[in-house]
């Protein structure tokens, strides 16, 4: 079996990609209107939505970047993982009911639609759409790059195939992604998310046990090895430090309520009361998949420190190298499929909300109406966004990293005040929403630009996204309190009382 490792992995990947194409074809017949394409006709069930919510949250960042962070910094990134229960609780308390009711009230098909309904103004909706589009391009580019690199790593391990150019790997992985997103829209996206989420959970549990047995003495021995080398690495703050970890905690707890690819799923449920069951399922699913994040990072750091594994070329190689060398070939195949699943489940959501921003939200905000034949243009826009993001990913080098880092923080800082807070607070004004979004974009971009180009960082490892989020929240509430209250539409006001 060992001799066929790469082939087994490739077969698993082909089966997985084939499943995605199959779901795309199945969803094609169910996608007849724009509402189907962007909102799945608002009739998703509890299980489907819950799994789609957690699998969209756990992106390639979690499956590739997460173990890399633990390998590089020790347990610092534990603070991102432990943000899950309180982060999901806040998202559900603030949004699950409100966003679903607004969506039904105004028959909305996107997040900017409900922003326009809530504020009674096109400006916050336009700025929300622009923030989404900027974040989507950056985040999607990093996801595409991660997807292509995983595929390249797998293909290069097969002697008969040998080295494959990154461009071809981008082409293959994007072709599958675009196929099911174009044909089946969000219906294909959420149903592939279900399979992807299940694969991710299964893979994470198996990897957790594989990691535990990769080092004699299990996790206790790993902790002791890391402790001997550097006590701080296995201490509660890792090597990042107290303020860095706490700033991550802040941005990941509150930022969850600002991720458009996640919260739009809350608009798609059949019944608003389903949220009651969705919260625990989403928390449980995320917690299970996070096992992979922690366990691979710890085991690879330990093996390198013990001299049993050569130093990794990059921290992000932790997961691929562990899977390639310390797991059974079939498990490696399942987990590599899970890894692609983690990336694609986020990327497909980005494609969908990006397409909505281009063909629905921005024209509506600027012209007052959507494009004619919107479903056709939505499919075209989905393909175009994938092409633009692929070009970004391949040919703009550092810009991708900058935009990728820009992603989560942008969404968090721009959308949490306007949507999560503003949908629950009648006093919030359109002006405050606009200022908060603009300030968050400027602050995020400036902080990341200075860090990337001039090495100027906020002291203490404090995350730029946390500062931007704090800034936008403060401006949003401060300006709303300081400016006259705008009368609300009676129906919106009535819904906010429920």
């Amino acid at each position: 079996m060992e001799a066929w490792r790469s082939t087994v992995i490739l077969v698993c990947i082909i089966l997985y990609l084939g499943m995605c194409i199959g779901v795309g074809l199945w969803a094609l017949r169910r996608t007849k209107t724009t509402k189907d394409f962007f909102m799945a006709g608002r009739h998703l069930g509890i299980m489907v939505t819950s799994i789609a919510v957690f699998s969209s949250t756990m992106s390639g960042f979690g499956f590739v970047g997460g173990p890399g962070l633990v390998y590089r910094m020790g347990v610092s990134s534990l603070w991102i993982v432990i943000s899950t229960p309180i982060g999901f609780a806040i998202s559900f308390f603030l949004l699950a009911k409100r966003i679903r009711l607004f969506a039904e009230l105004r028959d909305s098909t996107s997040l900017p639609d409900v922003v326009q309904a809530r504020y009674g103004s096109r400006a916050p909706a336009l700025l929300t759409a622009i923030a989404i589009l900027l974040g989507v391009l950056g985040y999607l580019a990093t996801q595409i790059l991660a997807m292509a690199r995983v595929l390249q790593g797998i293909l290069s391990g097969i002697d008969t195939i040998g080295s494959v150019r990154l461009e071809y790997c981008v082409l293959i992985s994007c072709a599958v992604l675009v196929f099911y997103c174009v044909t089946g829209g969000i219906i294909a996206s959420v149903y592939t998310d279900v399979v992807q989420g299940a694969v991710m959970m299964f893979a994470a549990v198996l990897v957790f046990f594989a990691a535990m047995y990769a080092v004699d003495g299990g996790f206790t021995a790993m902790s002791r090895t890391i402790l001997e080398d550097d006590p701080e690495a296995i201490g509660p703050w890792g090597t990042l430090g107290m303020f860095g970890c706490l700033s991550w905690y802040f941005v990941f707890v509150l930022g969850g309520a600002g991720q458009p690819h996640v919260i739009t799923k809350l608009m798609m449920t059949k019944n608003v009361r389903d949220a009651r069951h969705m919260l625990p399922i989403s928390v449980f699913g995320y917690a299970i998949t996070a096992l992979l994040w922690i366990s691979i990072g710890l085991v690879m750091r330990t093996l390198v420190l013990q001299g049993l594994h050569p130093e990794l070329p990059t921290a992000d190689a932790a997961a691929p190298q562990f899977l390639a060398q310390y797991t059974h070939p079939v498990l490696a195949g399942v987990v590599f499929a899970g890894l692609l699943a983690a990336i694609m489940s986020t990327a497909d959501s980005f494609l969908n909300i990006g397409a909505a921003a281009v063909v629905h939200d921005i024209p509506r905000a600027l012209l007052g109406s959507s494009l004619k034949n919107e479903l056709f243009w939505a499919r075209v826009a989905t393909g175009m966004i994938a092409v633009v993001a692929s070009v970004f990913a391949l040919y703009t080098g550092g810009l991708v990293a900058l935009l990728g880092a820009f992603g989560w923080g942008t969404f968090a800082a721009a959308i949490v005040p306007t949507v999560a807070i503003g949908f629950n607070w009648k006093r919030a004004t359109p002006l405050a929403a606009c200022v908060a979004i603009i300030a968050s974009l400027l602050a995020n971009f400036t902080i990341h630009f200075l860090a990337t180009n001039y090495g100027l960082r906020i002291p203490g490892g404090i995350d730029g996204g946390a500062v931007s989020l704090l800034l936008s929240l403060t401006l949003f509430i401060g300006i709303s309190l300081a400016t006259p209250r705008k009368p609300l539409d009676p129906a919106i006001e009535a819904v906010m009382d429920i």
């Binding site: 590089r72 409100r98 201490g235 090597t239 006093r427």
Partner: protein, 177 residues
Amino acid sequence: MKLALVFFSLLIALWLALGATLLTAPDGIDHGFQHPEFETMDRGGPVGERRAKLLTQAWLFGSLQIAVFVACLLLGARRRGWTTGIKLALLAGVLPYAAAFALVIAAYGRFVAEVPVAFAGPFPIPTAVVLFGLTTTPLYFVLLYIVMFDRWIISRADLQQFRDVVAADRIRRAEGD
């Protein structure tokens, strides 16, 4: 209005806590540096002593965050006719959550000073408190959401009221057209 003012005050307090820490902390504060042997790894190194001087600031920064999180939960649970019971039930969750965070800080203070390091399960005590304490205590809020959903979030009567609002709104908008 009152909740919004409390929220705003908490955000200002977070700015002050962050600013005061950055202005008064020693150079580099407390983060690590590249591992001397493995360049793809970082090392905390001898920062424990410096971090020990910043424990109060870290406790304040983290505790204020917890207060902001609970303010968000209160904002989400707020609705017409909400009762003191809802507020108290949510606020009751702050105690174990904030206590778990305070325990992380206290345990870290000992972790920096003690040799040999005490373990709880597979991890040093403060790390175990982060992993098991700060993960489990907020589950109280998840549990409240599930158990109190009908009474706090949306009941069948609320749903009927919503349907009435939608129907009235559609008539109003149709007449407006």
